[in-house]
């Protein structure tokens, strides 16, 4: 077998291994972006994580220092969703700012248990009057 052939086969094998690794990573660790209505429609058998984005509802933010427990609501065009999050209160938790929450929906309690919160970084923000 010529050297060129050997290199080619070697290269293909390496690429295949890398590809397989990437494919399995993607397969197991993705979460769907859903609308609020879609999240609420999830049944109890759906244990996969999902992510939802929405505007934070004014005056819905409730923070308990003792339990480090945050609850608030987000809304989009399709509805409103109560969120529950345990952890340090995130910076920049501002009314009328957007949040992306990643976690699982609990249909029994009708609330979304967030593992991760991503606040939309306001590089523009309004002046308070």
């Amino acid at each position: 077998m010529s050297s060129k052939m050997k290199f080619l086969i070697g290269g293909v094998v390496v690429v295949a291994v890398i590809g397989a690794l990437i494919a399995t990573s993607f397969g197991g660790s993705t979460s769907d972006y859903l609308t609020i209505a879609q999240v609420k429609a999830l049944g109890p058998e759906q244990t996969r994580e999902s992510r939802v984005a929405g505007e934070i509802v004014p005056d819905s933010v409730n923070w308990s220092t003792r339990d480090l427990h945050l609850t608030f609501q987000i809304k989009d065009q399709s509805g409103t969703l109560p969120i529950s999050y345990r952890g340090p209160k995130p910076d920049m938790l501002v009314d009328a700012v957007e949040a992306v929450v990643i976690g699982t929906y609990d249909p029994a309690a009708q609330q979304f248990n967030a593992e991760e919160l991503l606040m939309k970084c306001p590089s523009k923000y309004e002046e308070k009057n």
Partner: protein, 667 residues
């Protein structure tokens, strides 16, 4: 007002000069009209000068708080600290692009000022590419995202800079990253010039080596500084979130690293010419893509600037460059055949190939993950699917592991062919070292198995690198009778590329060790304390002593709340730390200032999470081992790159490739 006109006018003139430079250098090169090339060169000096003028104008507008200019209104205020006013330059889309253009024009100016030596034939074509890129940015700045746009009415006060951006790192991080993007244009320009002229041997690689190294190290440091900034400011104890903007700067770094190694392979063995050329151009295109991702709002991101149609222009430019390169590669197919023959699989050539594949595979995967929501999103209500942080770690972990392993194996595998016997002879010392590290790790437990393996491999690779560096010095000491110091400096001086590269690899290992430690063994605790209470976290005891409200700086705009904690280990008080949570008048919500105590073994990181009026204060405490080695590794990487790039004096041998000068040719 007149000032903003000058800024805008300077941009218009820059565009005109850039267009002329593109056309004139192309015509001058093609038709052998040197006067056109000189004219183009002057035009590029003009763009350097005028873009500088434009940038200076923007700085002046920002410092003078001229709110008649929209960009100034949007990013500064009368009470913003002067240092942050500077950084407001690149806080938004328009300013960032001006920064890009300015940096590119400056580097191009430096390039064309130097007399052509090795690149007499290539330079005019490289100028075409550089000038065309400048044209692209000038067009965007003039018509799509104008930093000098005026307001209809002049407001009394500006919106000011987002508090998250009001820190030292906002002053340094974006310029470093944009400088690296601008620098990557240069090897790409010469790659295209090489394709056009057919001079596709290693000439262009050798000539652009220092520019490439500068681009590479600047991008690497930019990424590390970004990580440091995230660590310090975002207050979640981590430094990397696989955020689309973070990813978009990491991808060109991976491809750029592959390019650097492919270039070495081509220089040494004259193979993979087309591959190296493509990588040079693709790295540059990816930096444009990175700029595009940050600007277009294509992907939801914590960093993203507002959405804008500008994305289509970026896309068009990228596709044009890629299509042009592909066409040229096909056209030059014959010349691209290198003279080097592929040898055995058990050879350093193959190690280079595999490392290239690993780097490019990682880059492709990160790119795919970043674009996944866009790719899987359908119209209507479906929004696509995102890859979680765990997903990224699941492939990056093994891929980086294999890469690190190859760093260790590469010096032990010889060019062309290695026998198993010779390999075993070279490798046994390091294997022993790795075992010596692994066994106590296993014994002391509880350690995650992957971390033990990772640390052992890291030990193996570090041992290999140190041995390699030491062997050369030892040989000099033996044969020339020099002492350690003299032998080291002479060895390094004679072989700057090799020792520099080894130091860079060592630095990479330090960073890897930092990542393993911080990812595998971070401890996190969340506690709510009343004044006087204490808590034990790790080996520390934290006593919460005080909470102070202060109304401070910026004319009452900022209210600082500071918690005071004493840190003890056993009975010994180590320090008093003051994590903060600050309120800003024009933003509802608050910004954290982390309290950080670092040493070589671990970081103690405390966030003031919240304060209740009833007296309970919540803290988040993170103990992150070895994270400081990431930053140390970065510094070592800079030193290594400087050594590798340091100019060699006269008398140092250069592999003579047709160095025979044709006599009788006058410049």
């Amino acid at each position: 007002m007149a000032l903003s006109d000058i800024g805008y006018g300077a941009l218009l003139l820059t565009l005109a000069a850039a267009v002329w430079a593109t056309v004139a250098s192309a015509l001058g090169a093609w038709h052998r009209r040197p006067e056109l090339v000189t004219s183009a060169r002057n035009a590029l000096l003009v763009t350097a000068a005028l873009s500088t003028l434009s940038a200076v104008v923007l700085f002046m507008l920002l410092t003078s708080r001229d709110f008649s200019v929209r960009y100034v209104y949007e990013h500064v205020s009368t009470y913003l600290k002067p240092a942050y006013v500077l950084s407001a330059f690149w806080a938004g889309m328009e300013g960032s692009q001006l920064l890009w253009l300015w940096m590119l024009a400056l580097f191009t100016g430096v390039l064309v000022l130097a007399k052509p030596t090795w690149d007499r034939e290539l330079r005019p074509y490289a100028m075409v590419v550089l000038a065309f890129t400048q044209t692209f940015f000038a067009v965007l700045l003039i018509w799509i995202s104008n930093p000098f746009e005026l307001m209809a009415t002049v407001p009394a006060e500006g919106v000011s800079l987002n508090p998250l951006l009001q820190n030292f790192w906002m002053i340094v991080h974006p310029p470093i990253v944009f400088a690296s993007y601008a620098l990557w244009t240069i090897p790409a320009a010469y790659a295209l010039a090489a394709l056009v002229t057919g001079k596709v041997d290693a000439t262009w690689l050798r000539g652009t080596r220092r520019w490439t190294l500068a681009a590479w190290i600047t991008l690497g440091i930019g990424i590390l500084v970004g990580g440091w900034w995230a660590y310090l400011e975002l207050g979640w104890g981590g430094y990397w979130g696989w955020d689309p903007v973070e990813n978009s700067s990491f991808i060109p770094w991976l491809v750029g690293t592959a390019f650097v190694h492919s270039a070495i392979l081509q220089e040494r063995r004259d193979m993979f010419r087309a591959w190296t050329l493509l990588l040079g151009v693709v790295t540059f295109v990816l930096t444009i893509f990175a700029t595009f991702v940050t600007r277009s709002g294509l992907i939801q991101s914590v960093h993203a600037f507002a959405k804008s149609p500008i994305g289509y222009y970026y896309l068009g430019f990228m596709l044009l460059v890629l299509a042009g390169t592909a066409g040229l590669v096909l056209a030059r197919n014959r010349e691209l055949e290198g003279s080097g023959e592929l040898g055995d699989l058990f050879s350093r050539e193959f190690v280079f190939v595999v490392s290239n594949l690993l780097l490019l595979g990682s880059a492709a995967a990160v790119l795919l993950g970043t674009l996944w929501p866009t790719l899987t999103g359908s119209d209507g209500q479906g929004l696509g699917t995102g890859l979680s942080k765990e997903g990224y770690n699941r492939f990056m972990g093994p891929l980086s592991f294999l890469l690190v392993l190859l760093v260790g194996l590469c010096p032990l595998v010889e060019w062309r062919k290695t026998t198993l016997a010779r390999f075993a002879r070279s490798v046994w010392v390091q294997v022993v070292v790795a075992m010596l590290i692994a066994i106590p790790l296993l014994v002391y437990g509880p350690w995650q198995p992957w971390a033990v393996v990772a640390f052992s491999v890291a030990a193996f690779v570090v041992a290999t690198i140190l041995l390699q560096m030491g062997m050369g010095v030892a040989a000099r000491m033996r044969s020339a009778g020099e002492n350690l110091f003299v032998a080291t400096s002479r060895a390094v001086g004679n072989n700057r590329r090799r020792y520099g590269a080894q130091l860079i690899h060592l630095a990479t290992l330090l960073i890897v060790i930092g990542i393993i430690g911080s990812q595998a063994f971070q401890e996190e605790r969340q506690v709510a304390l009343a004044k006087g209470e204490s808590v034990e976290v790790g080996r520390y005891r934290l006593v919460y002593t005080d909470l102070t409200y202060q109304s401070v700086e910026e004319g009452g705009n900022k209210v600082r709340t500071e918690a005071v904690l004493d840190v003890y280990r056993g009975d010994r008080k180590l320090a008093t730390v003051t994590p903060e949570r600050n309120q800003y008048q024009n933003v509802q919500g608050s910004v954290t200032e982390v309290a950080l105590r670092s040493n070589l073994m671990e970081d103690l990181y405390i966030v003031l999470a919240s304060m209740d009026p009833d007296g309970l204060t919540a803290f988040a405490v993170y103990i992150t081992p070895l994270v400081v080695w990431l930053w140390i590794g970065g510094l070592v990487m800079i030193i290594g790159t400087l050594i590798a790039a340091w100019p060699t004096g006269r008398g140092a041998a250069v592999p003579a490739r047709l160095a025979v000068q044709p006599t009788g040719v006058k410049a």
